[in-house]
Each structure stands twice: as C-alpha cells, then as structure tokens.
C-alpha cells in the first residue's frame, strides 16, 4: 500500500509477485477497468480500456529506461497523458520521484543499469567460473533481454529456470539454450529487444476475476489466463524461487514419449554357455521413423539368459543413431536350437532411453527375433544408465550363475554393487564436467541409494 498525502493506493500481487490489480481512490480519468499487456519479460507495454482502446504505451531500453515519446516515430499512445501505470520494467513498481524500480530485496536503477545495493545472498553464492556473478551490483548477469529477477536475488531465464548465483550449479549454459551465458542476442532472435506494435495487442485482454487458489491453478493451468486472488499477498522471494525450482523439477521428470517395434535376423555363435550375435536390424520408431542397421550382442546363460549389445542404425533421412542395450530373460537351448525372451532396456543419445520386451529363436546358428519398446524422455546423460542398470537388477535373481556355491542372491548383489558404483561415479563425473544438470539433492540421493546397495552387497559377501 502506498500513501500520497492521505490518498492510499493498494497493490495486489499474484503468488509469483506480479501485479494483478491496483485500486484506491481513482481520479475521474482513472475510473473503469484497465487491461495490461506485457512482453516476454513481464514489462508493461500497453494499457487498454474495456473498449480495447490504447490508453498508454511503453518501450524500454535494455536495463529498463523508458524510451521517450517522439523517439524513432513513437507517437500516439506513447505520448498519452493518461495516468501512467506504476508497474513498468519487468512488472516492478517504479518510484515516481527517483525512477528506481522496487525489486523487493533491493532497488534497481534503470539509468544506472544496476542495483543500488549488493546481492543480499552475499558473494559466497557466486560461481567462481562466471565473473558475471561476482559483481554483486550487476543486474541479471548483464543479460537483461532474456533474464529477469523477480526477487532481487535471482536471475531467471525466459523458461523460469534459475540461472544465477542462487543456484551456482545452474550458472552458464543450463542445457535449454537460453541460459544467462549461453544465449547471444542476434537479429531475428525472438528473445531480442524489440519494439512491439501496439496494434498487435489491441485485441488482447487479461481477464481479472475473483476466485480461490483452486480457481487460480485451474485457470492458469488449463485456460492459460492469469487470475488473481483479491487481497492476496505474493509469496516470499525464497518461496517464489522454491516454487519455480519445483516446477522445473516436475518438468524434468522422465516421461514416456512414443515407442516402436524392431525385428532382427542374423547368426548366433555359441561357445558353451556364452553366445554372440551379429545381424541386421529394422526398427520402426514413432519419433525417428523407419531405421535400418546392424545389431551386435553378447551374453549367455542356461535357463536364464542375459547380456548386452549395441545397435547402430540410420533412418530414412540419413540420420545415424546408436543405442546401447541390456537384456535379460529366460530361454531354452539344445545343440541345434535355442529360444529366449524377456526384458530389454536401452539408452541412446539425445536424452532418450527406453524399455521393452523381446523374443528370439535360432536353429543351426541362424535365427531371428523382435520386440517392442517405449521411449522415455528427459532421462539425461546420467539417468540413461539407470535403465540398463534396472535390466541388470532384473537379471540378477534369475541368474543361475553361482560362484562359490553361494546361490543366485550372491550374484545379484554383486551385479547391484558393480552397477551402482559405475552409475554413481558416472553421474558425479558428468556433473563435474557440467555436462548434465543434476540438482545436488538428486545427486546425494543417487549416492545414498548406491551406498546402501554397496553395503548390502558387502553384507551378502560375508553372510
């Protein structure tokens, strides 16, 4: 609430700190409902009335300075005498006396292009590898066309991902191509600074109505329109950061995305319980279309079988692809024939992995097989390894191998221990090389689970 003399103006914010209503004792010119159109940064660009008439327009320089009326042909609503809206650059309240923007944790001077106070979180949260984060007065790592700072303590890209000193691990290229230090501003870049044409927004309105939190979530989720809860207060800055981080985590959750079927044929070579296969494979994938190539496998077992391999294929567009796979199941064999079936997991490039079933049969060393699978996205380079590991876990209890007569359970634990160690070390390695973005909590969880499996494996060794 702001007082000018005795006149009070109340500002209503949504949960993420964006202004949704402003009310008080209006002048005659301010009466009626106004609608706000914003740009990709949340900056107020156009105010319209209920008849879709343009009341006032704003254009900004990169750090938030208003471009004056008359500059480069700005006329009409740019020169409006209507009461200006207080919320301007990235939706932050601009003080009329000093032209400073209120970013909750501190003030920002658009003319200075920087904050007036250092980051309240302190220098210790800066990323040693990113000098842009060392300066405690700089605004959104000096990339104000693609990043925003909702709380005065954080830098979010256009996707709402934290890319600043609040999350040192996310500094730089966060993998989405829009991170603070990973995006250049080029001509034609939709994220670049641009002058909006007010006529483009003449027919756009923002609905404002009362409602509960359920209404808010329903409307923003399914109708994509902002609805506010009257007299509500925004979440605290830290809560907003948490909410965005939570949303980001949900977005990263693995998702089943299409699938396919495959058929392969070739020759099998056996040496006792060990088998090797080489042949041709044809695959029909919902994403990649029809692909053909070669399949190599090696494995073994009597009664229960398992192993791994690699498929190298090229689709109809000439794009090559490779998938590492692991399989496990049951089978029967004789000197002249064999058959098996079970589960298969694979990981390939582009953050896609999959899981499915297979079946195959051979006669006199020649045979064929096939199967079907489901693609799983958002796996990431690190998590790709989890599916072959799961296949190994499934394979373990079925294994008839029994070194030292200690039973299949012993073999299972050995597989678990080996797989867990490799998986954990691989994740830490990729994290250190910044090739994957794994939240620290997830990495600690992976390490913890692996530690439990290792202890269980050691226990099984001495039981």
């Amino acid at each position: 609430m702001k007082f000018t003399g005795t006149a009070a103006t109340t500002y209503v914010y949504d949960a993420m700190g964006l202004l949704v209503a402003e009310y008080g004792t209006p002048s005659a010119a301010d009466s009626g409902t106004k609608y706000i159109s914003i740009d990709h940064l949340g900056s107020t660009r156009l105010v319209t009335d209920t008849a879709q008439n343009q009341e006032i327009c704003y254009d900004y320089l990169p750090f938030g300075e208003l471009i004056a009326t008359g500059t480069d042909g700005r006329s009409g609503c740019y020169g409006s005498t209507a009461t200006p809206l207080t919320q301007k650059f990235t939706g932050k309240e601009r003080d009329t006396e000093t032209s400073l923007d209120f970013f909750q944790a501190r003030y920002h001077g658009s003319a200075q292009g920087r904050f007036l106070s250092p980051d309240p979180l302190g220098i210790f949260v800066a990323d040693p590898t990113n000098p842009q984060s060392w300066n405690q007065y700089s605004y959104v790592l000096n990339s104000p066309l693609i990043n925003i700072d909702p709380s005065g303590m954080s830098c979010l890209d256009a996707d709402g991902n934290i890319v600043d000193d609040k999350d040192p691990d996310a500094i730089g290229d966060n993998g989405d191509g829009q991170g603070c230090s990973s995006v250049g501003v080029a001509a034609g870049d939709p994220n670049a600074f641009e002058t909006l044409n007010p006529t483009d927004y003449a027919n756009e309105t923002v609905a404002a109505q009362q409602g509960s939190w359920f209404d808010y979530l329903w409307a923003t989720t399914f109708n994509n329109i902002p609805i506010y809860v009257p007299n509500d207060v925004p979440l605290s800055p830290n809560a907003q950061i948490f909410a965005r981080q939570l949303s980001k985590q949900i977005d990263q959750y693995p998702t089943a995305c299409g699938g396919g079927a495959y058929f392969y044929a070739g020759r099998e070579i056996s040496a006792g319980p060990v088998h090797g296969f080489t042949g041709a494979i044809t695959e029909l994938d919902s994403r990649a279309g029809l692909s053909q190539g070669a399949l190599f496998e090696a494995g073994g077992g009597e009664g229960t079988v398992g192993g791994g391999g690699y498929a190298a294929t090229t689709n109809s567009n000439g794009q090559p692809s490779g998938s590492a796979l692991a399989y496990g199941g049951v089978g029967v064999s004789s000197p002249v024939a064999s058959a098996s079936g079970g589960a298969v997991g694979f990981g390939s490039g582009g953050g896609i992995s999959g899981a499915g079933l297979y079946g195959e049969g051979f006669l006199f060393g020649r045979g064929a097989g096939g199967g079907a699978y489901v693609n799983i996205t958002n796996i990431g380079k690190c998590h790709q390894m989890s599916l072959p590991l799961i296949a190994l876990v499934l394979l373990g209890p079925l294994s008839s191998a029994s070194p030292n007569g200690q039973g299949p359970l012993f073999s299972w634990f050995l597989i678990l221990v080996g797989g867990s160690v490799v998986f954990t070390v691989w994740c830490h390695y990729l994290k250190r090389r910044r090739e994957v973005e794994i939240p620290l909590l997830n990495l600690l969880g992976i390490s913890g689970i692996s530690l439990v499996l290792i202890v269980a494996g050691i226990w099984s060794l001495f039981r």
Binding site: D72, A111, Q112, G113, L116, T129, Q132, N142, V185
Partner: protein
C-alpha cells in the same frame, strides 16, 4: 565450455590471479528499430556494464555510467557524487537514499 583466459582479477573482496571464462553473451548493442537509433555497451572485466556510444535521439541519462573509471575497486559507482554506506548507495546526483535494518 567457455574458453579460459589468464587474467588478473582484483575482485572487490580481494581475489588474486585467477582463471576466468572470457566474457560472452553480455549485451553489447541495441537497435530498437532496424536502422533506427542505437546504443552500444561494454563492460570491464568485473562485469561493470557501461555505455560506450549512443544515438542523439536516445539521450543518455546523467546517471548512466559511460566509462570503466566510473567504478571503484568495490564495483561501486564513483561519479555524480555517488556515495555508499555498508554497500548500499546512499546518494547520487541530487538524490539521497536511506535503508532500513534489512538492507
């Protein structure tokens, strides 16, 4: 990975010689309309951004820094009579600012 270059970094809080990524992807020029007025930016090695040139039709605000010497070793402004207390800017030009206990 960004290329590394060897440089001397007198950090505000005191950091000596260090490896740092070459500055990339900071805003360097804007042209609100193609062929219209433009403004160019630069920054010192410590991420202090300043304006290097501008079109007459985009007049500079008197508080906008225009050269590297506009900043001191603590990354604070040193022109227009800018003063700081406990890191917070308390004055610039004809303005004075006060802060509460939280900041």
């Amino acid at each position: 990975m960004e290329p590394l270059e060897q440089t001397t970094v007198p950090w505000a809080q005191g950091v000596g010689r260090s490896n740092r990524p070459a500055p990339t992807n900071r805003i360097r020029q804007i042209e609100p309309n193609l062929g219209g007025p433009s403004r160019t930016f630069d920054s010192d090695p410590w991420a202090n951004e300043f304006v290097t040139s501008d079109s007459p039709t985009l007049p500079l605000n008197s508080f906008t820094p225009t050269e590297p010497t506009s900043f001191n070793g603590s990354n604070q402004l040193t022109y227009q009579g800018a003063t700081y207390v406990a890191g917070n800017q308390t004055a610039i030009g004809g303005y004075t600012f006060g802060y509460d206990a939280e900041n």
